[in-house]
């Protein structure tokens, strides 16, 4: 479903039906492998490139699509760019654009569970580029020092937009960084869903048993563009890309299942048809939703509107009466 969702997201953007999309092509095994090693009570702090984690945790496709349109039924009320989901009921933390801010926050959430003697752990996701930001370093420093039940998933897809991992760090492996923070660091084949699952399972068990945090580096390759605004042919080696295409994690898992006689073409056809129909249905419903109302601009800034906000809201309503419709002059721009 994650692959179909991404394909659909990119298509919707190309057709001009949504403004922007961030696909996760090639990174599906990491999302599915890690998410399935978690319990419902565990906290998840994702980046913007983990739609599969949301889907695996049972997030509503309709709601996710509403976020792509930023419409009235979008959980975040059309305030964030597409791919910035939030599902508090599923303990899926609101996605932020600034890189790696979630890393230390996950440590805080897991510390709270630990202080309350609950068994829930926290898992957080970030990219290879994300390991350079301060919040990555403080996150791992605090987790190591406080022995929090946190699992750090570094999706090393070899690029931070155009910058290759070789320019991001002098370390041979991102997993090697763990030693400096006093925790185990493991590198796994990020295109092997079972390997990712097993490594995460072990780290989750350690965390749950009070043995502290783990850093897992999942080595993969970003098979798509950074986002719908990016042109990877400007900086990506074509031969390398083609070599990685052959390691498509979905194809790999399918071949494995077929070799064990657990799966066949017929089952695949039925499943694909079913998934596509579910998705198409959700797309149709989400696209039909209207934009958020003007009042929503003023909601949730504080728990209650301040006098200034009330005044600005009243002024805007008056202006609307004077003007009728507001002209939309924004132009989507390559980001």
């Amino acid at each position: 479903m994650t692959r179909f969702f991404d394909e659909r997201g990119m298509l919707l953007q190309r057709q001009g039906r949504i403004g922007f999309y961030v696909p996760s092509f090639g990174q599906e095994a990491i999302q599915i492998g890690t998410a399935n090693a978690l319990k419902a009570g565990d906290w998840v702090f994702p980046s913007y490139r983990e739609p599969g984690v949301f889907i695996s945790r049972g997030a509503s496709l309709f709601k996710m699509l509403c976020n792509l349109w930023g419409n009235r039924s979008d959980v975040c009320k059309g305030r964030q760019m597409p791919n910035h989901y939030s599902f508090a009921d599923l303990k899926l933390f609101s996605v932020s654009s600034p890189i790696s801010t979630q890393v230390i926050q996950a440590v805080g959430a897991s510390l709270a569970s630990k202080l309350r003697k609950e068994k829930d752990i926290a898992i957080t996701y970030f990219g290879d580029g994300g390991t350079s930001e301060n919040d990555f370093h403080t996150g791992l420093t605090f987790a190591g020092a406080m022995k929090t039940p946190t699992v750090f998933i570094c999706t090393n897809n070899q690029f931070a937009i155009s910058v290759p991992t070789s320019k991001q760090t002098g370390a041979a492996r991102m997993a090697d960084k763990a030693i400096g923070y006093g925790m185990p660091g493991i590198a796994v084949d990020g295109n092997d869903v079972l390997a990712v699952y097993k490594a995460t399972q072990e780290a989750v068990d350690r965390a749950r048993n009070g043995e502290g945090p783990t850093l897992i580096e999942c080595v993969t390759f970003r098979m798509g563009p950074h986002s719908s605004s990016d042109d990877p042919t400007r900086y990506r080696d074509q031969a390398l890309y083609e070599a990685w295409l052959k390691r498509d994690p979905i194809q790999r898992f399918r071949q494995y299942l077929e070799s064990k006689k657990l799966w066949d073409q017929k089952q695949q056809d039925i499943l694909e048809k079913e998934l596509k129909a579910t998705l198409a249905d959700a797309v149709e419903k989400a696209e039909a939703e209207p934009a958020p109302s003007i009042e929503t601009l003023f909601e949730d800034v504080y728990s209650e509107m301040t006098p200034q906000l009330l005044e600005q809201k009243a002024a805007l309503e008056m202006e609307q009466e004077l003007r009728g419709k507001f002209e939309n002059t924004s132009e989507a721009f390559p980001l």
């Binding site: 937009i161 910058v163 900086y235 601009l297 805007l316 132009e331 721009f333």
Partner: protein, 324 residues
Amino acid sequence: MANLTLVQAVRDALMTEMALDPTIVLMGEDVGLNGGVFRATEGLQKEFGEERVMDTPLAESGIIGLALGMALNGMRPVPEIQFMDFIYPAFDQIVSEVAKLRYRSGGDFKCPMVIRTPYGGGIKGGHYHSQSTEAYFAHTAGLKVVIPSNPYDTKGLLIAAMRDEDPVLFMEPKRLYRSLKGEVPEEAYTVEIGKAQVVRPGSDVTLIAWGAMVPVCLKAAELCEPRGADCEVIDLRTLVPLDEETILESVRKTGRVVIVHEAQKTCGFGAEISALISEKAILSLEAPIIRVAGLDTPFPYTLEHIYLPDPERVALAVGKVKNF
């Protein structure tokens, strides 16, 4: 003369000045091979090599701290922060270090650098790709804040910034990056930092703006013409140091002022200008000063066209001060 967009003028300024001053180095995320996510540094790495146009690790505090170290050791760094919304990891380095180095060392050290960063809304960037937070930086002594609104000024101001002895925050209105073109001389030239420009003379109401709000005010002035108000539009171009004289001179003439900015209203730079006018020209005022600004909310995605000041909203404010 070449007919360039604003982002091409940025590139042209960098290209021109780097050829003249070998101590200039560019650094930032994706500025090298990729030429910047907005292509402001397109082809510069090819022209000047990887040592003068560097892709850095993804860490803004690192980029600015690195630039400070290089600046005090004989280089002229021009770091890029990919979006102004992502400048905050570097806030400490900028506010506590870069801006204060000269003062705290009694002039013993200096760190001239130009921090380039695209800012502002109107491009469907949502929460974190749209903000316009010049006020945080204008509130920081030791830092100059420059914001061009057209290709000619962009090149001239950027070259002036690269020749300045003080650190400059150079905010580029990304909404205007490709939406307008202008004549730009091929050679190096400067536009003086700290000088505003009257971009449209008028006699009834003074509109004060900077960056992407300048074209909005010019359009508003056109709307106001048939409605009976002749607007003067001032493009500040530099917030720090502020060109008080150009503002006050206009206010003395019109007696009516509308200040327009994208940033949220409370504690926006408009408040500073309004205070300045009431301190130094209150007797010239015929009507209250009105600020047309962003809402006191974070920046939205879907409804950004309602959040942002537009020509009609500015024209309504002009009507109010005119008919006060």
